[in-house]
């Protein structure tokens, strides 16, 4: 993969089916705004150690999105999830301590599902700006879009335009993959690399369609 440090965004989030309904809109918004999402599941190589892959992505990314909405256990006997806090620690450590000055310019978005919940579990982040997506796909797009404006991205379309196009893209994706012999349930769980590949093929066509309309 070509290294675009100034456009790469490290995504630190869970990868379960329930969270996918937020992950997919996040990926869509980043690609729509010409940023490059980087996640641990972007390539599947069983021989690769996951932590090494994450450190490599952190070193290659100026931007990062850390979703801490799923760190709390949701039922009795379930462990809390420590991957996300570990990875935000690695990313913040890189920004503060890496000898290369370029890492001082790293920019992060911290997301939570319930307002003020992050500071209850991670009080060291008190004072940090945390955006709340309320576990809603439209709101997560708005959080990511607003953050992109705040970190100085020049061209960021409006939230309604991104959200509407996300819905439309989902229909285009479904239509195409049904023709390719997929079931809707398989389309809803399509692998991330396959999803991103199809999105990257669609985005230029979408721009042409909008101009021709």
């Amino acid at each position: 993969m070509i290294n675009h440090f100034d456009r790469n965004v490290f995504i630190n989030c869970p990868f379960d089916h329930e969270y996918r309904l937020l992950l997919i809109p996040i990926l869509f918004t980043l690609r729509y705004c010409k940023l490059v999402p980087r996640i641990a599941s972007e390539r599947l190589d069983s021989s690769e150690i996951r932590l090494d892959k994450i450190i490599e992505i952190i070193l290659e990314s100026k931007y990062s999105i850390h979703d801490l909405s799923r760190i709390k256990s949701s039922k009795k006997g379930e462990y809390y999830r420590l991957n996300m806090p570990l990875e935000i620690g690695l990313d913040l450590g890189c920004k503060k301590f890496h000898p290369d000055e370029k890492y001082r310019g790293k920019k992060s978005l911290i997301l939570e599902g319930e307002r003020y919940s992050t500071h209850k579990g991670l009080s060291d982040l008190s004072g940090a700006d945390v955006k709340c997506h309320e576990n809603d796909a439209e709101k997560v797009i708005e959080c990511v879009r607003t953050w992109m404006v705040e970190v100085g991205r020049h061209y960021v379309p409006g939230p309604n335009m991104i959200w509407d196009d996300y819905n439309i893209f989902y229909a285009v994706l479904s239509d195409e993959f049904l023709k390719r012999g997929f079931k809707q349930s398989q389309i809803d769980t399509l692998s991330i690399p396959e999803y991103l590949k199809f999105l990257d093929e669609w985005l230029p066509k979408k721009s042409k369609l909008a101009k021709a309309y």
């Binding site: 335009m161 959200w163 439309i168 989902y170």
Partner: protein, 65 residues
Amino acid sequence: MSTKKRVHVIKRTDGWVVKKEGAERASRKFDTKEEAVDSAKNYRQKGHDVVVHKKDGTIERWSKS
């Protein structure tokens, strides 16, 4: 399958909209999903496929003309 542009019924924070694929703006905004779906039926009668989306953006149903 219809060659006309698809029409989408989409949830927004402040209501529901009906939007034709490729259009810059939604054609109309409604307070309820039922009103939006009703309005989209007019497009279906004119030969457009209508896609009703869930509030998470995925597909609830697809009415092919």
